[in-house]
Symmetry: C2
Subunit: 285 residues, 2 copies
């Protein structure tokens, strides 16, 4: 019998990945953190038995949490990442030359330690000293409340709303994000599954609609999140993800992408009818 890791889902199904071996396993103050070598999906990070990233498909998530927002905002100089301990989001943010300062606040030093050692494909940015990049091992909720900084873009790259990430799905947190965003700032957040987490999506979009004049959702699809289809929320004070997205700016950025492209940018904001039935009333513009 092969060894495997198993992700169980409330909706009465589970996914088993065959593995060669466990590379890292530690119980941090926040969660169980593991890196395993799978047979089919490269190395994989799991927090509390939930798949966070795999080498095979991490490019999808990291393309889509970073590039739509950074190519909508015409001048994203100061970027804050909350969460994102595997480093993949920071890696993609730092590919944009317009970014002058990227701060990242990850609550769990253990995740950073595990990825630095066993997931270099995403954690490269966390290990390379760069004048544009600062990593803080700290509580993102506290950081955003107390910081004196103002950001053009905030990216909430969180785990699910259980355990340490729960407050990152709350009203107070988003009030603080709003306060520390520039007058034309944008916040993008990990937004769960339209199929399996309809209630979370409904709450998130409601909170964002109370604060921001432009609120949209975007979808993408990867291999290792339950059901495949997944969402980010997109809330903006000024720039619109379709009207202010520019293919010319995209060409100037001169980046290659494995998932993202101009057609995918526009397509990502098209939502299936059942998802619109759930959150459409709160989308703005």
């Amino acid at each position: 019998m092969s060894k495997f890791v198993e992700e169980r889902n409330d909706n009465f199904f589970s996914v088993r990945y065959e593995i060669d071996r466990v590379l890292y396993s530690k119980r941090s103050p926040f969660q169980k953190v593991e890196v395993v070598q799978t047979k089919g999906h490269g190395r994989m990070l799991l927090n509390d038995d939930l798949v966070m990233v795999s080498e095979r498909d991490e490019f999808v998530y990291h393309d889509m949490i970073v590039h739509p927002v950074l190519l909508t905002h015409p001048n994203p100089r100061r970027v804050l990442i909350i969460g994102g301990g595997d480093g993949g989001t920071a890696r993609e943010v730092l590919r944009h030359n317009k970014v002058e300062q990227c701060d990242m606040v990850e609550i769990d030093g253990c995740v950073v330690e595990a990825c630095r050692e066993f997931l270099p494909v995403t954690a490269e940015a966390l290990s390379t000293p760069a004048p544009r990049f600062s990593l803080h091992i700290d509580d993102g909720v506290k950081f955003i409340r107390e910081t004196k900084n103002e950001y053009d873009v905030v990216i909430v790259d969180s785990t699910d709303p259980i355990g340490p990430a729960t407050p990152l799905f709350g009203r107070e947190f988003y009030r603080d994000v709003y306060t520390h965003l520039a007058d034309d700032g944008i916040v993008v957040s990990q937004g769960e599954s339209p199929y399996y987490n309809a209630k979370t999506q409904h709450t998130m979009v409601q909170i964002l609609a109370e604060l921001f004049p432009i609120v949209r959702y975007l979808n993408f699809t990867n291999l290792t999140y339950p059901g495949g289809l997944w969402s980010f929320s997109f809330a903006s004070k000024k720039w619109h993800p379709l009207r202010d997205f520019s293919e010319e700016r995209m060409r100037e950025a001169n980046l290659k992408f494995r998932y993202y492209n101009a057609d995918i940018h526009r397509a990502a904001f098209a939502l299936p009818s059942f998802q619109l039935d759930n959150i459409g009333a709160f989308l703005k513009e």
Copy 2:
């Protein structure tokens, strides 16, 4: 320990669905056919242990194999479905009043029998006598070779290219489809996963590009196919899926959809970069 059905995948992972009971299980001349009552996804049809449809997400697949093509073609009077034994595709085709005749050719009478009895949500059309609808239990490859009919739209709603469906992914079959399509006909086919079946997609698009002036792929995403993201091929003699799609025609059809809508129509034809790297060179127009 709960009972479950398990779908194993070549890529070293498996998905287990918890079930209450097995409603139907028979070995037909072509495959093992089962209907089970799951705990989280309603009833589910499996052929040779691969999930074909579940009550929870069948609307996605059936919306996307039918409505993009029937709302691109301005006058789809004669439709042929090859495969589609669960009946969901026929159900959606028959919602279009412009369709005067819908023929369906399913090779495995056992699938039809199982769905008629245990999956009425999709098989309704197979049980209701309708002057517009004819069901043939026959080999689709033979049927398309020998028929005297000409079709406006052919829909190849097949299983994976293993077992009985293998010839449905071949060059000869598509030559016969081309011959029996009207001068402005369109063929849409189940096109596998961009992530896990890149080689199949490459072969399909190559075959279609030898025959048709317009060749595109469209993507959708459901819960029960491995990886979530899935594709249909779209090959057309005249009508273009984006230029000839009309929102006005869509309004006139006066249909409600749980997945499909006008934005999703356009978005579906936007392909991720890695998929374009694989098949982009063969897409036409």
